[in-house]
Symmetry: C2
Subunit: 347 residues, 2 copies
DNA sequence: CTGAAAGCGCTTACAG
DNA sequence: CTGAAAGCGCTTACAG
């Protein structure tokens, strides 16, 4: 049971542990035959060096970690392969860690940075500014990607590298688009009532666009995600849309603040015996793959995934190479017009 | 930049490093006031102990790791929260590691076990029997969950704890069901042509059920997943179904060996101007959440997720507690009849 | 209750 | 090219 150590291998090979270490680490100053002999034994006994010891000893690794919060969001995991490819192309080891919904991502990030002697870190998703989250304690280069900010603390992120979109503005674009298409009773499926991050920002955009188009804001058309159902899921979108449709017969369009919610909305509409887009128009948010395969294909706000991935790695690279300036990059998302919206007026 | 160590804290507090260590690890033999004083400094300076050193020193951790291969499969990540809850209820620390598609899960598992002094491991997804994958090198208790086996090596798994379904049998059930409903030209969207694991097993079940129902096996009705498109995705299902429908006007039912593929099939059918289930019946596989929200809701083979999670943890627990017997649990999946299949005959 | 010391398994100057 | 030795940052018997 006791695992093999470098000592055991050294003994078996009749060399010192230094030699074993050199053989394993491709040290140039070692006799080719010795090396081969050691490596053969290593292979035969399936020796795997203890990483803790190695990490403890080594001053630094060549690893960049990606810390993901929120496995349930397809938008995030669609980014994963791209991050990996890009990071490996840059010559770094890549390591993915998934933090569960209620894990403390900042503490985990700190610990990880120390334990692994990381070169840098990418913090994807999650919310990095709740009380006590001391990002400044992370002493290695990092970049925040698609990290939610509470509406009151957004400016703080100026002190960090970050890559995101403007939630308020993108939401505004959607509602403005629907209003220009002649929709007068536009419902929104927003965050939970207590949400003060993404949901709240997108609701702001909704209100602003309504006002600019001369439409009244009506509380009855706001569907807050339910607390008793997992957030941002089809099930939540379905439940909220169902209630919305039952109580408001005049709705002609529904904007859901995520694609998964919107897929639930599709179902609620079908169950009500209505059709998309003939009776009700639907717009989603994120632009996940699946939206191309809904029937009808979904009009949605597509976040510039590729650009976001690339520029976050760019930021991280320059930070690793000593650049002290911090950038807050905000990307434009794109409203992908597909088949789930009907124009009510002839333009 | 240099991170704080236990020495620094000891110096600041005017105590020995032993005392700092005791304060941090809730050692009973320490003066309450000393402890408080140390902890305050720890907090103030935001000292985080070096985990590598700790792991190196500690003989064992209390951690169980979940190694997931294949982030892109919703079926797997729907299991994640359940695993976590159950493991934490058992009193273990939980750690999730995602191995990318072409990572060597066995090597990673071995290294991880050593580095973290893990109590046990759950290997979810992936394929653990390709040449050179020496599972027996993993010296800590582990259990394989939903791990694909090549058709020739399945018996080997008898030496390990494993939890899975019988792919051949479940596939058989689907085709038998469709045949009994009067379908005579049933297409399948199977694995890649070279697949010798899940895809191949499900294709076997398809053939057997056809034979038992007096239906001929026709190569033209077999759609192999395309190599130029990511496996098991909507895009792949869409492309393959589209070709299938174009070349075979007599198809009345399509069985896709994963739900995501089936969602692509839905789209291909809609694009062809056909309707589900009136013109074409569709059956998926896995039973992911989303299948309740497709329109029409999808008939699919639902894997018993909860039971699989619980019994894998059970197996792991008894293995950790010294039980040397290995079990190979095979669960029955359930064909969820929903609205995507039409009976062609009156039963 | 506290401290000095040994040691976990590695890597890497430093001698030879 | 190889080995003896120091040291990475911790934990934990062992004395006191």
């Amino acid at each position: 049971m006791a695992a093999l150590t470098i000592k055991d291998i050294a003994k078996i090979c009749n060399v010192s542990i230094s030699t074993v270490s050199r053989a394993m680490n491709n040290d140039p100053g070692i006799n080719a035959q010795t090396k081969e002999r050691v490596l053969r034994v290593v292979k035969e006994f399936n020796y795997i060096p203890n990483n803790s010891a190695r990490n403890l000893k080594m001053q630094e690794s060549n690893t960049i970690a990606l810390l993901l919060k929120g496995v349930s969001n397809p938008f995030f995991y669609e980014m994963l392969p791209d991050f990996q490819k890009r990071l490996e192309k840059e010559g770094y080891e890549y390591m993915l860690l998934v933090v569960d919904e209620d894990g403390d991502e900042v503490k985990i990030a700190e610990g990880l940075a120390k334990e692994k002697r990381l070169k840098g870190m990418i913090l994807l998703g999650g919310r990095f500014d709740y009380p006590g989250a001391e990002l400044q304690n992370i002493r290695i280069p990092f970049v925040l990607v698609s990290v939610a900010s509470s509406t009151t603390e957004i400016s703080k992120h100026k002190r960090f590298n970050s890559v995101s979109i403007d939630d308020r503005k993108e939401s505004y674009k959607v509602i403005d688009y629907l209003a220009k298409k002649g929709h007068r009773h536009i419902a929104i499926i927003s965050g939970r009532e207590t949400d003060d991050t993404v949901g709240s920002l997108r609701l702001d955009g909704y209100k602003a666009a309504l006002a600019d188009n001369g439409l009244p804001f009506e509380q009855r058309l706001v569907g807050y995600m339910r607390k008793d159902i997992p957030e941002y899921t089809e099930a939540n979108g379905y439940a909220v849309a169902k209630a919305l449709l039952q109580e408001n017969k005049d709705i002609t369009a529904i904007f859901a603040i995520s694609d998964r919610l919107a897929i639930g909305v599709y179902k609620a509409i079908a169950d009500a015996g209505l059709r998309i887009p003939d009776d009700i128009s639907v717009v989603g948010f994120d632009g996940i793959e699946m939206t191309r395969y809904t029937i009808p294909s979904m009009t949605t706000v597509k976040q510039p995934k590729d650009a976001m991935v690339n520029s976050s790695v760019d930021l991280l690279m320059s930070s690793i190479h000593g650049d002290e300036t911090k950038q807050k990059l905000i990307y434009d998302a794109e409203l992908h017009e597909r088949d789930s919206v009907k124009a009510l007026t002839i333009e």
